[in-house]
Symmetry: C2
Subunit: 284 residues, 2 copies
């Protein structure tokens, strides 16, 4: 609580790409944070042109703008966690490395986005090398999917055994903890390596057409729960439950690969039409 | 309802600037649309660097990216309303003019953003001229504040009489309808000209520190209600009620001019901790 009478939620800073279709990237992050009772702020690394039918093009922003934006946001204080997604190129990745060094007291969660589902590169080769050699050791946890775990570990990752081997390898090369997300396996299995041992979480695979942005959402939800002061394991469990429910409550929107329903909890409330006060009196 | 079992909300396209502090611009639009039960998608005209303490700089995007983004989004179909905010420059304003011409069947709402509260220009002079001469006649309604009404009408606008005169002038130069928003007057009075006559709505002025993004929010909420098929007058009344409540439920976040609580309705739901299923069983 504060002088305003309403509780101030923890502030979480997102750094990533902008998806105009609102399924993934910064806007998915901000919706997820709102759903998990955080206030999200955000710095954009690249604009994408995309709709439900795929990514048409990528337009990286200047690293200087990313630096100014994050410095300016962090100057307001109050940031309790940082979520990192698509970085586009090495210059942006290095800017994020500097931010993490300067604010090592704030827990960060890194979704090591490298390619779109279509195969289009979302981080250049030099950026991926920097991510592997520098960024992954500066964060609390990384959340690769199967392809990203394979790219970063150099291993073949096609099943749970491969996920476990990749998680082990990524911890060995410096990641403090790893969640390999297997949302596109038959059983939506995630492998969690906490730095000392491995645990496996099994979920249901539901509505495979509504999975655009699942990785962004999962990672943001983990950041939200860390910002609330939960342990990493708790944060992952809460985040997986949230993502599962957001997929379950998803609706059809667009002809292609569709988004989650990030704000499904709001739909339980009275609709606007039940909520509005009497019409104001005209004053002449 | 659709094959997914959940109702698909109307899709609303927002075109405007990006505020990393999430108080105004595209992210305020998307939160507002979610709160008003729409699905928001968005094209960015400019990045801003800002926090609660003000706008530090503006970085316009290429009009070619804006064109590609909006064409791509509109190709997915389903857009039921368009909300237009900050345009930054003439090239972006012209791109929006083309979009409105090509999609004149979709109702559009224009917040004629010209300057930040600090005085910094958010639309260049040539852009403002294009907005006045072209854009304002292509939309369903425009929503200037006092300063914008003065800049567009050439009149002095400092009180309700001035607002009425400016609304009349703006209708004469081509706007089909006008809401002059007086949120910073003592009584939060809005003047609505529906093209044939003037009506005045009076609200309470509450929490003047939590008004960053009020104009974006109000305009987006009007677009949301038009997308639901409501009349313009109904949409304005619903939007004003929503904005008022989002200010009332706002919390302190940051040392400067703070945002509304766009998603206040969600806070009435059970929190995550009451909501999560039993922890998944580890599988070894």
């Amino acid at each position: 609580m504060n002088s305003h009478g309403a509780p101030t939620p923890p502030v979480v800073l997102c750094i990533g790409g902008f998806d105009p279709s609102s399924g993934a990237g910064i806007t998915a992050d901000l919706k997820t944070l709102a759903a998990e009772n955080c206030y999200g702020i955000a710095a954009i690394t690249a604009l994408t042109v995309q709709n439900t039918q795929g990514v048409a093009s990528i337009h990286p922003m200047d690293a200087s703008v990313l630096r100014k934006t994050t410095e300016n946001l962090l100057a307001d204080g109050q940031v309790k966690a940082i979520k990192i997604g698509m970085l586009a190129n090495r210059a942006n990745a290095e800017a994020v490395g500097e931010i993490l060094s300067a604010h090592s007291n704030i827990p960060a969660v890194l979704d090591p986005v490298i390619r779109a589902t279509s195969g289009m590169r979302l981080l250049d080769e030099e950026g991926a090398a920097y991510l592997r050699e520098n960024l992954l050791r500066r964060v609390r946890v990384i959340t690769p999917n199967l392809d990203e775990a394979a790219a970063l570990s150099g291993l073949k990752v096609e099943n749970v055994e491969g996920m476990k081997a990749a998680a082990q390898k990524l911890v060995e090369i410096g990641a403090p903890a790893v969640v390999v997300t297997g949302g596109n396996l038959d059983k939506a299995i995630d492998v969690f390596h906490d730095g000392s041992g491995i645990e496996t979480f099994v979920g249901d695979r539901i509505k495979p057409d509504n999975t655009h942005g699942t990785g962004c959402t999962y990672t943001s939800a983990i950041a939200a729960h860390l910002a609330h002061g939960r342990t990493l394991r708790e944060s992952i469990v809460f985040a997986k439950a949230y993502v599962t429910e957001a997929i379950r409550k998803a609706y059809a929107v667009g002809p292609g690969r569709m988004p989650l329903n990030h704000l499904y909890r709001m739909q339980q409330n009275p609709r606007v039409s039940e909520h509005v006060p009497a019409l104001p009196e005209p004053v002449h």
